[in-house]
């Protein structure tokens, strides 16, 4: 029982981390109808910037307070991400207004390639460290109830807290502000949104900057877990089923989807894995999503797919 709880908690924590990446997808999709393939690359790019800045800034300025160094690096990386958002809008999106989703998806792929190459050129392709001082040691709860206690990872706990805070803030933003409404309008119909004076360029810079911010947070947390290196961009693959399960357009869905997938994956790997030969978590999330979609084709919290003549 203790172990089961532990597995579930582990799953919840992993799920929260997936959500963090998934959130970036949802944001951009919701606000512009673009499925942003570059999200993984953005996570890597942001993390690389932050990791390297955390090395460079203190060295340049002769600082040696780690907190300030990290804060500076974070701010620096954020500036970089805003610049990236601006460039993407200028050079890519503004020229592809009113194109089909799949074309935009392909364009974001081009962006992903570019960022991968550019990031590694600027910042190097070795493995770098982000150390924001998240504790790494395990925490054992309920040791009196279960033998060995229930293991919780403190680092994950913090990460989960950050993710939750982000999600709540963003949900409120989308649901209750007029900019949020405008963003949803843009996603529905670029041209109509333009026609009533919603400035697509400004909106897109904002959204991509927010997505850049989410990517930076995700990159920071994942980076401090994994080290910053190319593989970081592959966490996007873990986020895909999460996005879809929660529904492409739902911010809270990203979280709940993440939690479900996280738990499902871990529980299945731990309890079913051994009989099936292991390694099943790689497909479990996707198969789960497949079955959920059969019942709810728009994911758990997604907007209903409109189908009308």
């Amino acid at each position: 029982m203790g172990f089961f709880i532990e597995t579930v908690i582990g799953g919840l924590m992993s799920g929260m981390l997936y959500s963090l990446v998934a959130l970036g997808f949802v944001l951009i999709f919701k606000a512009s109808g673009v499925f942003n393939f570059a999200q993984g690359a953005m996570v890597l790019f942001a993390a690389l910037a932050m990791a390297r800045f955390a090395e460079w800034f203190p060295a340049l300025l002769g600082l040696d307070n780690k907190l300030i160094g990290n804060l500076l690096a974070f701010a620096g990386a954020m500036v970089v991400m805003v610049a990236v958002a601006w460039l993407i809008e200028r050079l890519v999106l503004s020229k592809l207004v009113n194109q089909e989703g799949i074309t935009l998806l392909m364009a974001t792929l081009g962006i992903a390639y570019f960022l991968d190459g550019f990031g590694q050129t600027l910042f190097g392709s070795a493995i770098y460290k982000i150390d924001v001082g998240l504790p790494k040691d395990p925490l054992f709860l309920l040791e009196s109830v279960f033998q060995g206690g229930v293991l919780v990872n403190k680092e994950d706990l913090y990460a989960a807290g950050i993710a939750a805070a982000l999600v709540i803030a963003l949900s409120v933003f989308f649901q209750y502000t007029s900019t949020g409404r405008a963003l949803r309008a843009v996603a529905d119909d670029h041209q109509a949104a333009q026609s009533i004076g919603i400035p697509l360029n400004r909106i897109w810079v904002i959204v991509w900057s927010v997505a850049g911010f989410v990517a930076l947070v995700a990159g920071m947390i994942w980076g401090s877990k994994l080290g910053v290196q190319f593989s970081l961009s592959l966490v996007a693959l873990k986020a895909l089923p999460v996005v879809i399960l929660g529904g492409l357009t739902s911010v809270p869905g990203a979280i709940i989807g993440g939690l479900i997938i996280g738990v499902g994956e871990k529980v299945s790997e731990v309890y079913l894995g051994p009989t099936l030969g292991g390694g099943i978590e790689i497909w479990f999330g996707y198969v789960l999503v497949l079955f959920v979609l059969l019942v709810r084709p728009q994911g758990l919290f997604g907007e209903k797919i409109i189908d009308r003549v």
């Binding site: 172990f3 532990e6 597995t7 582990g10 799953g11 924590m13 992993s14 590694q120 392709s125 070795a126 493995i127 460290k129 790494k136 040691d137 395990p138 293991l151 990872n153 680092e155 994950d156 994942w222 877990k225 994994l226 080290g227 290196q229 190319f230 593989s231 970081l232 592959l234 966490v235 873990k238 994956e265 871990k266 790997e269 731990v270 894995g273 051994p274 030969g277 292991g278 390694g279 978590e281 790689i282």
Partner: protein, 417 residues
């Protein structure tokens, strides 16, 4: 015009394994430069051209095709990827180019009777598996102490990872320990479920056949679940500085079996490279990487590649450029005695290597090193994989391959060519 011997280098300087594959490529390039600084192979200069595979098989194949005919023909390939090795194994007999796969690729290609062109020199996965088990057994006080013990194998879920398993299972049958297989789906950035299982099953030891980011992640998860690093043993692709640097002191106690060499900052060859290559500003990578584990593996790989050519020159003409076919003969008739190795600067790094027509490995020695929080230290004596055990496995597997391919085993007469 100067005579040049062309050594293509398939690199993985980008992509998922860049941190690990880059030092290898640097070591390879630097040693070749050193050979030239020493006057070449009996006067024949070496030439390296790189081609980036990003650890992807199809790009590897493209690189192979691109480089094989260049600069008078490739001497030998070292793809540094099991996937590429599998693909090239089908191609090299036609092109008559040998391939060295030290420590990876097909274990059964040790059998030169079937795999005429493959050379898993100085070790393959089964050697790693056997020696790491030997080390564990020794620590426990003998093979019989392993009976009833539980060993978890955390491996990369791919042919690279799976190649290790036959030897573990063979040993399991012999010694009656329990094996728990834990495949990690690539790229291995998410291993919570694996380590939760480790925590639940509490195996006595964990053997890791991991590569790239997977190793560091495994260590971090082990730390997070409180599994003692002292009970974790990597194979030789799972214990290098890039894997551990980021984890640092927390990984203290983690060990990995090494294909003879480990991190060798003191070796003569390292000093010579620093002197004759880096000091001249011709170093390929950063200076502090010279002598690290994977850098050394590149150096050793280059040395083997060069020495094969030297051996071939003995037969086909000193100071001549060797064709791939001639070089192959050299690799098949390597006889690197300790004295020769010492003279090359590999004293304390390597043991003698001697290949033959039917033994394309030439040596099966290994050592184990342990991370002390900042660097590696040796933790075992020389260990030799049990040839009695491995030979039949190699033979059986090679025979199966030959049967599938309708190949006939090379006749002893063929060994003379």
């Amino acid at each position: 015009q100067a005579k040049v011997q062309f050594f293509p280098s398939l690199t993985g300087r980008t992509g998922p394994v860049a941190p690990n594959a880059t030092p290898f490529a640097n070591g390879y390039a630097d040693y070749m430069k050193l050979v030239n600084a020493r006057g070449g192979i009996n006067g024949v200069q070496t030439l390296v051209e790189e081609c980036e595979t990003a650890y992807a098989t199809d790009r590897g194949v493209e690189c192979y095709e691109r480089l094989k005919g260049k600069h008078g023909g490739a001497t030998v390939f070292q793809p540094l990827s099991t996937g590429i090795t599998f693909a090239l194994t089908e191609k090299i007999p036609n092109d008559k180019i040998p391939m060295i796969t030290s420590g990876y690729g097909r274990s059964d290609s040790q059998d030169g009777g079937v795999f005429k062109w493959n050379f898993p020199l100085i070790g393959h996965y089964w050697v790693a598996g056997d020696t790491v088990l030997q080390h564990i057994a020794k620590k426990e006080g003998g093979w019989d102490k392993l009976k009833g013990k539980k060993i978890a194998v955390v491996y990369h879920d791919s042919p690279f990872g799976k190649e290790l398993l036959p030897i573990i299972q063979e040993r399991q049958k012999m010694h009656g320990f329990e094996v728990q297989l834990l495949p990690v789906p690539a790229p291995g950035v998410e291993q919570k479920a694996i380590w939760l299982q480790v925590r639940q099953q509490r195996p006595d030891f964990v053997i890791m056949q991991t590569w790239g980011v997977m190793t560091a992640t495994a260590l971090k998860e082990a730390i997070a679940t409180g599994y003692p690093r002292e009970k974790m043993f990597g194979t030789w692709w799972s214990g290098a500085e890039p894997d551990l640097k980021d984890v640092g002191a927390a990984a203290k106690g983690y060990s990995a079996v090494m294909m003879q060499h480990g991190a060798e900052p003191q070796a003569a060859v390292v000093k010579e490279i620093l002197d004759k290559v880096h000091a001249k500003g011709q170093g390929t990578g950063p200076k502090d990487e010279v002598g690290q584990v994977l850098y050394m593996r590149g150096v050793v790989g280059a040395m083997l590649a060069v020495e094969g050519v030297r051996a071939a020159q003995e037969r086909f003409g000193k100071g001549k450029v060797m064709t791939g076919e001639q070089a192959r003969w050299g690799y098949e008739n390597l006889d690197l005695t300790q004295a020769k190795l010492d003279a090359l600067g590999f004293k304390g790094v390597m043991r003698p290597v001697s290949t033959s027509c039917f033994n394309h490995m030439g040596s099966a020695w290994a050592r184990v090193h342990t991370w002390d929080g900042a660097k590696f230290t040796w933790a075992s004596d020389w260990l030799q994989a049990d040839e009695q055990l491995i030979k039949p496995m190699v033979k059986a597997s090679a025979e199966k391959y030959a049967a599938e391919k309708k190949l006939t085993r090379r006749a002893p007469a063929d060994c003379q060519s």
